[in-house]
Amino acid sequence: MNILKLIESFTNEGVIKSLGEKQSRRDSFAQFGKIGAGAAMAALPLSMLFTTKARAQSSTPETATAALQLALTLEYLEDEFYAIALDTNGLIPAADQAIIAQISQHEADHVAFLQQALGNAAPAKPEFDFTGAQGGAQPALLDPFGDYATFLAVAQAFEDTGVRAYKGQAGNLMSNGDLLTAALQIHSVEARHASQIRRLRGQKGWITGNSRGDLPSFTQPIYDGEQNTVHGGANIVGLTATNGPALTNNGATESFDEILTGQQATTIASIFIVP
């Protein structure tokens, strides 16, 4: 199955229903398979879709396929990271096991979903080095599987990156409402994860200003730009509450998340990818 098939298959009501009704992934995929023959039919509408596609500002990649490929790479990263952690004896305290296991399950689900969606266009899983040593090419930056606090810090970095990266690709998926909706549905799950990981670390669930908190300095690009308070040309700083406590500038920066472009997200992920 490839992306063309997915797009057409998404227009099949049965598949849409299956996505909405919490059927198992296996069930959904079986349905994808049944209607995979619709690829040829998809050729005409697709050519229209991609030529009339709306563009997100200065965002690369700029096609729906490339957007999903970036998403899959980020999901590979998260999935392997949590899977290794769960397999590392003594790393995750019993009190947090249910949380990390749930996140790990979702990342595995996202990998499978995007792999199936992309079919032959799915990139292979990169080789990751979560110490940041690039496979030994340079000194390690971190020891995430030897120290739980470090593990959580890196998890926060990944989740906050994921939220911004998916948001940045939304415009590239506007040509197909079903793909866009699925991406949005993953995006909000990443945001739920981000909030939970941040709160486990004693941080707020949301980002204040462009603060990386206590994360190491190489993570700053994940937070750059988060201080923005101008949305659609309207600066929300200076807006006032009609009833209730005064609004704060911190609240203004926290109340909207920001995008990362495809290039920015790729650069961040590359810290952990062996070249």
Partner: protein, 252 residues
């Protein structure tokens, strides 16, 4: 004794303002209409809400949220009005400090900030987009919370959870109907905040569990809920918090 004040009319009919008057509006819906129509492959019902004359405003004595991008933004504004009003009452309650511990107070105070910012953002952004078109900005809705005990931690947190999860599902479901990429990005900037909120509230209710992204909201593909406006509006109406009548005749 209250009657249901919010209604959804499934039939997209009604008086339409002229195309000429629509064209005066600064690109709110016009630019994206062609794109959306081109993107409909077959049975997609997105086309139902793109009539460019379906602007927000009073119809038959009741405010209708309108269709197209203006309608989606106004719909979001209505939901944000509800969330903002709810948290305003939470933090203004004279039992706030006695009902919630320090961590909970911090979270609820932050949610108050964020939701009021969202509401006030939509107020100015929609007013700017509809500049020169009187009567199209959704008025301030009135709210009542007879089923909520603001001095009861469980009651407030359960209500917050319902509102935040509904907000996530609503934005996720509405995104595909937005035709202007800038508005889509703005909706994306807000929905992840709603999801961060939902996660935090859920973890306050059931810490140390998988509930922050529980299987009741995330399916077997790892996907959060997404419901279109015609599914969300009845859910919100059933909470019976919104006391001002409005309709959503032109939203999908």
């Amino acid at each position: 004794m209250k009657k249901t004040k919010v209604s959804v009319n499934e039939v997209a009919t009604g008086s339409l303002t002229s195309r000429r008057s629509f064209l005066k509006i600064s690109g709110l819906t016009l630019a994206g209409t062609g794109l959306l129509l081109a993107g409909c492959s077959d049975d997609d019902d997105a086309g139902r809400n793109v009539d460019p004359s379906q602007l927000p405003g009073i119809r038959n004595g009741v405010f209708d949220l309108g269709g197209g991008d203006a309608g989606i933004l106004t719909y979001a504004y209505a939901l944000e009005q509800l969330e903002a009003d709810f948290y305003t009452r939470v933090v203004n309650s004279n039992t706030f400090g006695a009902t919630f511990n320090g961590e909970e107070q911090q979270v609820l105070a932050d949610l108050y900030q964020h939701e009021v910012y969202h509401r006030e953002f939509f107020r100015v952004a929609i007013a700017a987009a509809l500049e020169g078109t009187d009567g199209m900005l959704l008025p301030d809705l009135e709210f009542s919370y007879d089923s909520v005990n603001f001095s009861n931690r469980t009651s407030v947190l359960a209500t917050a959870k319902a509102l935040e999860d509904t907000g996530v599902s609503a934005y996720n479901g509405a995104g595909r109907y937005i035709t202007n990429p800038d508005y889509l990005v703005i909706a994306g900037k807000i929905v992840s905040i709603e999801a961060r909120h939902a996660s935090a509230i859920r973890s306050l209710i059931n810490p140390g569990s998988a509930d922050f992204a529980g299987n009741d909201v995330v399916d077997g593909n790892g996907l959060d809920k997404a419901q279109k406006p015609s599914q969300i509006v009845p859910v919100v109406a059933s909470l019976d918090f919104i006391q001002t009548a409005f309709t959503a005749q032109y939203l999908p």
